[in-house]
Symmetry: C2
Subunit: 691 residues, 2 copies
């Protein structure tokens, strides 16, 4: 780390409203000296490498290796889709939990993967050289081509490399200020080993989500297998420290925060506040109502809707609080002040000002264009008009058929050679599809498309003259064969010829709207994305020139490390303690879900110590995507399992409030006690070196 | 009208951004001279009285007398509840329409009333004298007592008066700037005579709601009956002008705009934007989803959910666009400028400044208090936690039992002697109650109460330990006898003794939460309503001192008259014509509701002139509550029937945009053609003098 950077960093931190450890730092730019100066702790390269290679990116979450035989610890809610896949009308694994007593009982998760970050290269100079001097639209197209080329070359090279082959992904940091190429070791055979009942994993359900105090054993155990079908050998796993962290202890979270918007301009934040979030929330709330009512139609309906409903309710709570944060004028005023300060510093440096121009105004202009394109783009291209897994298969088949016929760098990025194996895995995985639920979501989304685009919009007129949303959904869902993975495989392998010849009604629907969807995507890319990307690159350059990289980049679902301490907070003058205890769980229970304590926990109650620590809060800076992250002590041991934040943490999308923003973890103490005394999973404890 | 008032009015209008006819004027302060000067039209006292006594306030809408025998013209959607009451699983009057060929076939609407405004007295001085010198809290209590006394005295006096007895209601204008006492002749026997099929009344359904061009025959015909059971004789009815209004013609709307918020302070508008509207929309959107999914469970479910779903979707669209308006920073900036201007004018007049103080700051402080009380008040007292007609009966019985034992002026205002007959009518009306739907809404609202108040809130802990929202809803709805009007009547007549002795589970539920609900209401009244009312009175005084009454008061669901012209508008550079025609209806039809043209209209097509005018737009200033209002020409004839506004009219809650805000009416031409050629209702046409 260059000394001037550190100096700047310290100045900034000291001038900030409260002394804060916030920041989702990359492993290649982690402020070890700051941790040293503040806590006297040595976080050296070996520590960073060990933690990095023990941390896993799942398809939707974070996880970590906790045994030499590839045992993976993550959240229950990160494994819910896998539990759902293996549930049947007679056996609901989400509700009942699961434990493989032998390895041959472990259940393969159809779409899960485990990626481990093995290397990182800064490719900023190569990307910027390729786009230098081009106008925004050409730069946007060129940038995508270059990123695809870099990934393709990296994957080719990795086939000969030690430990290869790797999956290569380019990463955009600082909203375009830096470009990196990350190399992952991918395990695409991930199996389910253990999950507790949802009743204890998500005790309190949606009402308690993002609340603290909490009593959730939000854990599950998976295992990575190699291509040889054997458990993956894992020298760099994390040891579990069975007594959990002490009050005030320095702790680290390694994981993959999904997305933050702390570097957005005021105009972009206003777009979120005025357009994106309210509209999304209206649609999602209605869908929530449809799901809940559907679930009441019978036990099987209730079972199949549980997983999508949980995801939806979680997302609603997040976006609702994000909207609240943006409606708080103090936040926007602070952002305006930040922006004004940066602009003033740029203006004070004539050379810088000349090279930067006024990217803020360009972004504001692009926002107006985005507002115009928002509805057709959201409904046609982003799928808000075609909410159906079967439609998703159809669109993937239709698009892949077209894209695979093009040179790699000419394709839509999600169909590049590097991306195709994952597309194929998702497409062909034998996950259950529920026609009743598909009819619900497709009919709902067609109806809302008609509402928002209007009954006279060309696509709406095209689809809904003979049909209503209900009859179109019914006809396509009932008629399609795409629920059968073999049919999908045939069409995938048959390529463009097979797909174009298909009379499957869902394929026909996807084909019918594809031109319109691609057209609005292209307009959005050219008229919004291109000028915004060009402008954010300029702002990133301005920020680097003025502040260096003393701020962490926004989250991008890539590997980050942050530090903090075990800590409660004050709420309306009350002190919130950083730990909860088992006795409180039983005291708070009711006779009804989601506050019903499972029978296994009632039975084990006499064997359990009521003073056992359950969940805990820290001031680490995390967001969604960090779910399942290990909470790590200074010696690199796992002391907890992140699964949530408090309600104030949701505003962390836009800023970190050190007074109120807290991360929530399952304490290692209750994990060990539960495995031992409630689930008698002593084999697992032994494998983790705990017995 | 005092000349200085008019002068001010003209100056203001001329200085406004666009020349506008906006304003929902009272009949006692109608700017006839302005109409004269602008259009050369004479609107004299006789004209005003004739139109006033021909205009009707229904429980939810406006209507007008159109025959000497008490025939009433209003919208279809204003009669939907009555159609619903008389529908059965085998006969859905909303869908199929209804025509009474003889008077003895007319169907009584259980909860409908028709009020005609007979007289108006300004009582401002009496109210202000009573509250003079009191602090805000005492003034608030006193004001309510005085208003109740005034109403009681007025009703007593009216028993001896010619044309009496009257219903007397106090009216607050200019947010506390004026107090009036209005006397109504009330018809509480209102019967259904005619309604077309919903397919044509609401052609386009929710997707087309608040849109124009439109093709809706949103009409129904009712009849008022006297206490003698005979049709009410009505000398001052409106004659229908069968050819509708000409382009650009001066037209008037007489009716009862429900509510506008044009005089709110910026702090109050921000509360709506940040708290009220987003939260309401989230809940309503989810309920919409539950309703729709419930409706899919069978034909009967679909029938019984239709009316509440239509109301809900209409309200969602309104509030969604209100939120959009408030999120448009131009609106709030304009309001800020208005407020700053008024403050500056006050500050420039030391005597005025001394008497006014800073009421804007007092309101801003009260808003913060309101935010704290918002959730418990909304869920406990406003019923968002107990969304159920049966619970509503139970609460009315429990509260009436307690309140009727108190002196009239000590009661909650809605249980004053003047209000009781209406409470009783609603309580005892034999309207159908659907337990499935009740379970849905009650369970939904209990679940959301738990979500928003939190599982540890005292009321939530009190209700939801043994029970879940579902089981509590099921137990109370299944166990209650309150669905039977005779049981409600017994409890009403049995008074406090009967209600307190009741073990009906819904009565028990209402009793269980009543203390908590009353407590938060009292806090809201004392800590929010009292200081806000005191402050708005001050602002009203400031506004009168500076501007006179040159602005119309906010809408209060009391009688108003406004003027405008038949006029289209420009949308994205396109000209929107002010009329639609019948031929376009057939061209736009699809094979599916809500764009399916009913069979009666397909059959009558050869007899109908395709050039017949259907709906039309004007720049009259109306809002919800004006539904069913007569559109009147300068000679006092009915030329159309208001039923909607365009999408821009929804922002009319906060300001009137003369360029974009348009009211939508059914043209008299299509009304006459439909009654004649589609429905063959020649008796009705004859009674209206049209055959």
């Amino acid at each position: 780390m260059r000394p001037n950077r550190l100096l700047l960093l310290l100045c900034l931190l000291l001038s900030s409203p409260a002394f804060s450890d916030a920041g989702m730092w990359t492993f290649h730019d982690f402020p070890s000296q700051l941790v040293k100066s503040r806590y006297g702790a040595d976080i050296d390269g070996a520590w960073l490498q060990r933690v990095r290679t023990a941390t896993i990116r799942l398809s939707n979450c974070t996880a970590s290796f906790v045994s030499p035989d590839g045992l993976i610890l993550t959240n229950h809610h990160c494994a819910e889709a896998c539990l759902d896949e293996h549930s049947t009308p007679d056996s609901n694994l989400i509700a009942a939990g699961f434990l493989a007593r032998r390895r041959d009982q472990e259940l393969k998760c159809g779409t899960q993967i485990a990626d481990v970050l093995m290397g990182m290269d800064n490719v900023t100079a190569r990307v910027q050289a390729a786009t230098h001097g081009l106008d925004a639209r050409a730069a946007n197209d060129t940038r995508k081509r270059v990123l695809t080329q870099l990934e393709q070359q990296c994957e080719q090279d990795s086939r000969k490399a030690q430990g290869g082959p790797y999956k290569c992904e380019t990463v955009v940091l600082y909203d375009g200020g830096q470009y990196w190429l990350y190399r992952y070791h991918r395990y695409d055979d991930v199996r389910l080993v253990f999950a507790p009942e949802r009743g204890i994993a998500a005790f309190g359900g949606d009402p308690d989500n993002f609340q603290f105090p909490r009593w959730c054993l939000d854990m599950s155990v998976l295992r990575a297998y190699g291509p040889d079908g054997k458990p993956a050998a894992m020298p760099d796993f994390l040891h579990v420290r069975a007594d959990g962290p002490a009050p005030g202890e320095l702790v680290f979270v390694s994981g993959h925060p999904g997305s933050t918007d702390r570097l957005l301009t005021v105009a972009q934040l206003q777009s979120l506040r005025d357009v994106d979030l309210p509209r999304w929330l209206l649609r999602a709330s209605e869908l929530r109502g449809r799901y809940i009512q559907f679930g009441k139609s019978g036990a099987e309906a209730n079972r199949i809707v549980e997983d999508p409903l949980n995801s939806l309710e979680n997302a609603i709570k997040v976006r609702r609080k994000q909207l609240d944060a943006l409606l708080d004028d103090r936040l926007l005023d602070a952002k305006r002040a930040d922006e004004a300060q940066l602009k003033a510093k740029v203006a004070a440096d004539p050379a810088l000002a000349a090279s930067i121009g006024d990217p803020w105004a360009e972004i504001a202009r692009a926002q107006e264009k985005e507002h115009q394109l928002y509805l057709p783009y959201t409904f046609l291209e982003q799928g808000a008009g075609f909410n159906s897994r079967l439609f998703g298969y159809a669109r993937a088949l239709v698009r892949a058929a077209a894209e695979r016929g093009k040179p790699n760098t000419q394709r839509l990025r999600e169909f590049s050679e590097a991306a195709l194996p994952r597309v194929r895995q998702r497409l062909l995985a034998p996950v259950p599809v529920y026609p009743q639920l598909e009819r619900l979501t497709l009919s709902f989304s067609l109806e809302r498309m008609r509402e928002w685009l209007g009954p006279d919009a060309p696509v709406v007129r095209q689809l809904l003259v003979e049909d209503s949303p209900d009859t179109l959904a019914e006809r396509t869902i009932n008629g399609t064969q795409l629920g059968d993975p073999r049919v999908r495989q045939q069409l995938w392998e048959g390529g463009a010829a097979a797909v174009n010849a298909s009379h499957d009604p869902m394929i026909e629907l996807a084909r019918a709207v594809d031109d319109a969807a691609r057209a609005v995507r292209k307009r959005l890319e050219d008229e919004v994305e291109a000028p915004v990307d060009a402008a954010t690159e300029k702002i990133a350059q301005a920020r680097f020139a003025v502040y260096g990289t003393s701020m962490a980049p926004d989250a991008t679902f890539t590997l980050r490390l942050n530090f903090g301490t075990v800590k409660g907070w004050q709420e309306d003058g009350r002190e919130i303690e950083p730990y909860t205890h088992l006795a409180q769980l039983y005291a708070r229970a009711t006779r009804q879900a989601p506050f019903l304590v499972p029978a296994s926990w009632m039975a084990a109650r006499p064997q359990l110590d009521p003073a056992t620590r359950f969940d805990l809060s820290t001031d680490n800076d995390i967001v969604g995507g960090n779910s399942g992250s290990p909470l790590i002590d200074v010696q690199g041991r796992l002391v907890g399992l992140m699964f949530d934040g408090n309600i104030h943490s949701i505003a962390g999308s836009y800023w970190f409030d050190p007074k109120m923003n807290r991360a929530i973890a399952v304490d290692a103490t209750i994990i060990v006690a539960a495995l031992h005394k409630v689930y008698h999973a002593d084999e697992l404890l032994a494998e983790m070196g705990l017995k």
